[in-house]
Symmetry: C2
């Protein structure tokens, strides 16, 4: 195991904070930060801002200039070894004369993991791996999941009254949750690679499913300028081909991908219950459209299917301070359970107030069957 100094921890922590600045913009690329030091002096630093633009290491090397000779580079992710839209960062570090590279984690893509490190070592550069590795993982859970499994990271958003109702029996529901909760939803949308919904939801509200910069909380606006706004891809389950060009959905900036059995951007099978194959759709979005992270805002039917098929990574549940009675519309519809052993277990990861509402973040627990 490599040993790291307190200064090493400090620099990698700084690189991680830099990486976070790209959290709204880098998709489908990962968030990466880089700090370059000479002795205990920072001579360069940078982070990846947007796909197609330079990687973190390039920004940091440009800033360091001549002073990268013999320097140490702290990078939150293994430098890339391949020629993409930019030349490989490992090559950049070698050419700049860096003497030592410390990476927080290896590339999560099993097909290239370790190659960048090997390229550096082959050039005589000392490489250490694993400093603040957990924090580096936390920067890119969705990117890492897609690289390792070929499936996107799925967050399922739901909103209900304290007693679990999403609407009254007659369908009325505006507004269950507060403006603050709806603004919180905007932050989640802004971080996602795609927002997934259904044509039913889109048609009911003529929803655009976009990020509205003006509705982001002040703290987010302060670090995420309006001109940098990146719209997530909007994915709409449209089995009955109901979407049409007059909808607000199409008036707004950004791509729209329809999911249907045929004649759609994403074509998937329909199961015997007449539902689009959600696992196939998610897989296609990851593999064909490079989407790491999907934020789902749909109704009880899709929510139930995603949960039952164990396709949900995180449930984000907003509970409003209201009691609506059990004769309304429930969160996940009927599950037909007859034994407490069958209930879906989740783990509460976070629970806090968002304005007058409660926001619960929970991760479904896999069944051992």
């Amino acid at each position: 195991m490599p040993t790291f100094t307190p200064f090493d921890f400090q620099m990698m922590s700084r690189a991680i904070k830099l990486a976070q600045r790209g959290q709204f913009t880098t998709a489908p690329n990962p968030n990466v930060g880089c700090v370059i030091t000479q002795g205990e002096t920072i001579v360069g630093e940078g982070y990846h801002f947007r796909a197609g633009q330079p990687h973190a290491e390039v920004h940091a090397l440009r800033m360091a200039g001549e002073r990268s000779q013999g320097a140490t580079a702290y990078v939150t992710l293994e430098p890339c070894s391949h020629y993409g839209r930019t030349p490989p960062c490992a090559e950049g570090l070698i050419n700049a004369g860096v003497a030592k590279v410390i990476c927080a984690m290896q590339d999560p893509n099993p097909q290239v993991s370790g190659r960048g490190i090997q390229m550096l070592r082959d050039a005589g550069i000392e490489v250490q791996v694993g400093l603040l590795e957990q924090d580096a993982y936390a920067l890119n859970p969705a990117f890492i999941k897609r690289m390792q499994t070929g499936m996107p990271f799925v967050q399922l958003k739901m909103a209900a009254s304290l007693d679990g109702q999403t609407a009254l029996a007659n369908g009325r529901s505006q507004w269950i949750t507060s403006a603050q909760a709806r603004h919180d939803v905007q932050v989640y949308r802004a971080k996602a690679g795609a927002v997934l919904s259904t044509s039913q939801t889109v048609l009911a509200d003529n929803a655009s499913l976009t990020v509205r910069w003006a509705e982001l909380p002040q703290g987010v606006q302060d670090t995420y300028a309006e001109q940098d706004l990146r719209q997530p891809v909007r994915v709409v389950l449209d089995r009955q081909q109901q979407l049409h060009q007059q909808l607000k959905l199409y008036a707004a900036d950004g791509a729209v991908l329809r999911v249907a059995e045929q004649d759609a951007e994403v074509c998937v099978a329909v199961n015997k219950e007449g539902q689009l194959d959600l696992a196939q759709a998610l897989s296609a979005l990851a593999k064909q459209h490079n989407i790491n992270h999907i934020w789902v805002e749909a109704g009880a039917t899709v929510a139930k299917s995603l949960l039952q098929q164990q396709l949900v990574d995180e449930l984000i549940l907003y509970l409003a301070p209201k009691v609506m009675g059990s004769d309304g519309r429930g969160l996940f519809g009927a599950l037909g359970l007859t034994d407490m052993q069958q209930v879906l277990d989740v783990k509460i990861q976070d629970c806090r107030m968002v304005g007058p509402d409660i926001r619960i973040v929970a991760t479904p627990q896999l069944k051992d069957d």
Copy 2:
């Protein structure tokens, strides 16, 4: 307005902390603490521990002895002026030669409020009122409510899955919440003057509804010795007279009050829906049985009635990390609402983890109709 010194604040704060030590034992009496000082030296202090035993001032005066001459007494509640099981504390302070009395708040009973203060002033003692008044109110919300309104403070406990289900459609529910949540319930029971349930609930589980000292969390056990255990009165809605002496309910220590239309300890009317008049029952418990604080553990029907009749002061809702589906049994049953304006609004006062579960404390908001 009187002005208080930092030392005054410090002493009253100490008196409030002392008062809290009686929180499990003083019912139906209030929690009261007292500190007596000479200059900036504490010469006596005490708190009320159990109804029928000496009041806080008596303990503090005994400890101070001769040094109460010319002393200042800090009391969290106006000293009493009446002869009850103990002589009036105002008289005790006068006889001990105390020079100044600072009270956090007046007696909440409008019929005696101010009398103790007047008795002290008539004896030439300087009296100031209002130091840390909010904290003093928070010591005894239930006692204060009963004194001011003649009704008890009602906490309604409910437990459900994240999606608001208390049981599966077939009634199965053990265990929705964790052992930690059940131990948390024991703390609430231990603080209450009465635990209210229904014969249906009692019969289903052969429930004793007692406080089980061994199940109190360590932190509570540390300040509340097993030999001091006070059992809340157990109140059971028993319209159909189903309780019988073979139940565990009757095997355990402590009083049991049945509520029924006749032949019961608490007799109330039955409304046209065939339900016991809950408002009448609560009023009788407050007025005839001196119960300040009622902890309700019942089913959806009672919960719904209490909420609809605006008889609930606090809703304590435990949500377990489970999804059960909307075809189970809902928290409050059908409310028949057709417009979002009709939903019952609550305000979230607290939301935190209790073991793996979430505990929400919410106060119903009065409707303006």
